[in-house]
């Protein structure tokens, strides 16, 4: 292993055709990542047990501390070993990664198989201008192909090399000059200011970004919140004591506490939004979108235009009021496991542009698909029988359950009044749900509008279809209605209760286009 001693210098780090080690800062990665997973996936669930036994734990605090030290030491040793047994080798068209002490693995990854190159800078790399390169393949999500520590500029160079090689092989050109594209060739499509991110935090619940990270600290927060409140002269018990004040005052107090909590939640959400999207920049370079953002952990995700399966414009009711929308560009996600939200945000299979104005949204979608605005299409409504369907399920069962509860609990007149109100609300929502559904087909693109209080628009080219489903219940058949489902690599899209001739035509058309023109979906 002597030949790898000089790797940390820039010139040798990316030298080809020999096994190289990453910089020693890689140990930090091997230490923090498993530790983080250990805490968030395992230790968090032990908090309730620890709470129950807190007295005992306090008595034996020295053992607890010793345990923590031992665990950290174990993680540290494992990190050093992992680092020592980690090496990678670059050649002209592939990268190999060798790792593992007990279970050795050897990953051989040709550049053509790499779908995405993600450069990530966790906080512990930021001070030394190091970065981690994550190579995402189209197929399996389980196989991790990370080069854990490279100098930032080498990471960029590697990315350019991978992408450039792929492009060259795709275009079948023989000119392999060394003028790999640099940041200067990029056209910036969109940037987000702090103000935009504040709006995004208010309109979208990004609270879990921090809640997820703060999970290990719930216990001390909850334990100490009372003390802190008392210290600043806030007497909760007295504040919400029903007996010592009039009903009106009591309700007012409850309301103000709720408001206070809401304000706090929104504040956390805003901070979370800034964490993830700080310094957001979306740019385009050679048929490829590149997204950069992040306050503490910087992220760079790039996505090839041709791989985008669908573009979605999402608006909550609050977004509609202030005229903002989130844009989501999705690519193949069939191999990606884990449905938790924070993974989704960081997931390179989806590229999110947070809280853009509608005209910016139009520009972006026009850039992606060369199609006009999703907001100005002539959408056709689905059949009104869809409202009836919503009544049968889930509205009527819900109403029955509600009435049963009200009856069994001997509701007062006010109780029954609110039940009636809830029933009317459900009817109203069913109609609204129907009203939101809309579809439009043009230039071999499918436009779908749906939502309830909010509005979501999706647009995708028919040529990306993987599979089609034509669904018709025996209740729909006499009314010549059918439900279309088009399956893309990023997920399925349905249009319910459309005339069955339209459904059959659209499916025939999709099959014809896919089978005759044989368009690539990746």
């Amino acid at each position: 292993m002597n030949d790898t001693s000089d790797v940390a210098t820039n010139s040798n780090e990316l030298q080809e055709e020999r096994w190289a080690k990453v910089a020693p800062i890689g140990i930090a990665y091997f230490f923090f990542k498993p530790l983080y997973l250990f805490i968030t996936n395992g230790l968090v669930y032990l908090i309730p047990a620890a709470l129950l036994q807190s007295e005992k734990l306090k008595q034996h605090i020295e053992y607890v501390m010793a345990g923590i030290v031992i665990i950290i030491a174990l993680f540290l040793i494992s990190a050093v070993l992992k680092y020592l047994f980690y090496a990678f080798r670059l050649s002209d068209e592939r990268i190999e990664i060798r790792q593992g002490l007990i279970q050795k693995s050897h990953l051989d990854l040709p550049f053509e198989k790499i779908q995405n190159v993600k450069i990530e800078q966790p906080f512990y790399y930021r001070f030394h201008k190091y970065a981690m390169v994550e190579l995402e393949t189209a197929g399996s999500a389980s196989k991790e192909a990370n080069i854990v520590a490279l100098k930032l500029e080498n990471a960029e160079a590697l990315k350019a090399k991978v992408l450039y090689t792929r492009q060259a092989s795709e275009n079948n050109t023989n000119e392999r000059t060394d003028n790999t594209p640099s940041i200067d060739d990029e056209i910036v499509l969109n940037t987000r200011s702090i103000m935009d991110l504040v709006i995004h935090g208010i309109t979208n619940n990004r609270i879990w970004i921090l809640l997820g990270a703060a999970a290990p600290f719930y216990n001390p927060i909850v334990e100490n919140i009372g003390t802190v409140m008392e210290a600043i002269g806030f007497d909760i018990a007295g504040y919400i004591d029903y007996n010592s004040q009039s009903l009106g005052m009591f309700v007012l107090h409850i309301l103000s506490v709720v408001m206070f909590i809401m304000l706090f939640v929104v504040l956390i959400s805003v901070i979370g939004s800034i964490f993830v999207f700080y310094n957001y920049r979306l740019s385009k370079q050679d048929e490829r979108y590149i997204k950069r953002s992040g306050l503490i952990t910087k992220q760079e995700v790039s996505m090839k235009t041709s791989r985008i399966q669908v573009a979605t414009q999402q608006q909550d009711w609050l977004d509609i009021l202030i005229g903002r929308a989130n844009i989501k560009l999705e690519q193949n996600s069939s191999g990606i496991s884990g449905a938790n939200q924070s993974a989704q945000l960081n997931n390179a299979s989806k590229l999110i542009v947070p809280s853009v104005t509608l005209s910016e949204s139009d520009d972006l979608i026009a850039d992606v698909f060369k199609q006009s605005s999703v907001n100005q299409q002539q959408y056709k409504h689905v059949s009104t029988r869809y409202i009836l369907r919503l009544m049968i399920f889930p509205v009527v069962p819900l109403i029955l359950a509600l009435v049963c509860v009200a009856y069994l609990a001997n509701f007062t007149a006010i109780g029954w009044l609110s039940v009636t109100f809830a029933i009317m609300l459900m009817f109203g929502l069913s109609v609204l749900r129907w009203f939101r559904w809309g579809y439009h087909f043009s230039n071999n693109f499918v436009f779908i509008r749906k939502g309830l209080l909010g509005k979501n628009y999706s647009i995708f080219p028919i040529q990306k279809v993987q599979q089609t489903k034509y669904k018709q219940t025996i209740f729909m058949r006499p009314h010549k209605l059918a439900t279309i489902q088009l399956v893309l690599a990023s997920g399925a899209h349905s249009i319910p209760y459309v005339p069955d001739t339209i459904a059959a035509d659209l499916i025939d058309e999709s099959l014809l286009i896919v089978e005759r023109d044989k368009p690539a979906w990746m």
Binding site: Q466, Q467, I474, V487, A492, D508, L512
Partner: protein, 176 residues
């Protein structure tokens, strides 16, 4: 490359005009038998509990014993009737460029899978299927696990023929 589907009139290539071949009659027979056996096995559980060999059951259990059996029997019968009526309605079709599968009794569904989009293909046979000489053809696309296309109840030879037709199809090498 010439594409022969072009010369066919549009209404003739519509999915509403596809003649599907039905599955092997053995498929329904197997399902009906499994349904009966499974129901009887499930009914044995309350009977076993009734004997109180290991546990003492609450008195309410003995009162409602026959109701429990009846409920299981009704569910079993429902399953039996469903397979009796719905299984013959299942069918598949293979066109030049796509595979189709029709299923459902109340909720009818017609699934179409272009051969171009197929990632890989598997023949799956459980112990009962092997005994009966049947097989299930599974076709995977990039649409993900929820949308795996499958045709159950095929004669084993038919499944093999279908598989080799798909594997030999020129489209399969085009799409990555």
């Amino acid at each position: 490359m010439s594409f022969t589907n072009n010369i066919v009139a549009n209404h003739e290539i519509s999915l509403t005009h596809i003649d599907v071949s039905s599955l092997s009659p053995k498929y329904r027979k197997i399902n009906l038998i499994t349904s009966c056996v499974f129901t009887l096995l499930v009914m044995l559980i309350p009977c076993f509990l009734k004997l109180e060999w290991f546990f003492v059951m609450p008195t309410g259990y003995h009162d409602s014993f026959y109701w429990i059996l009846l409920a299981i029997a009704i569910l079993g019968l429902w399953d039996f009737i469903y397979h009796f009526i719905a299984d013959p309605k299942k069918g598949y079709a293979l066109r030049e460029h796509d595979l189709h599968f029709q299923t459902g009794l109340i909720f009818r569904k017609h699934i179409s899978q272009p051969i171009l989009r197929i990632q890989h293909i598997e023949i799956k046979r459980g112990p009962i299927e092997r005994k009966a000489g049947l097989a299930t053809l599974q076709v995977f696309s990039a649409g993900g696990a929820h949308h795996t296309f499958y045709i159950p109840g095929l004669e084993h030879e038919t499944a093999i023929k279908l598989r080799s037709f798909i594997l030999d199809h020129t489209d399969l090498t085009l799409d990555e």
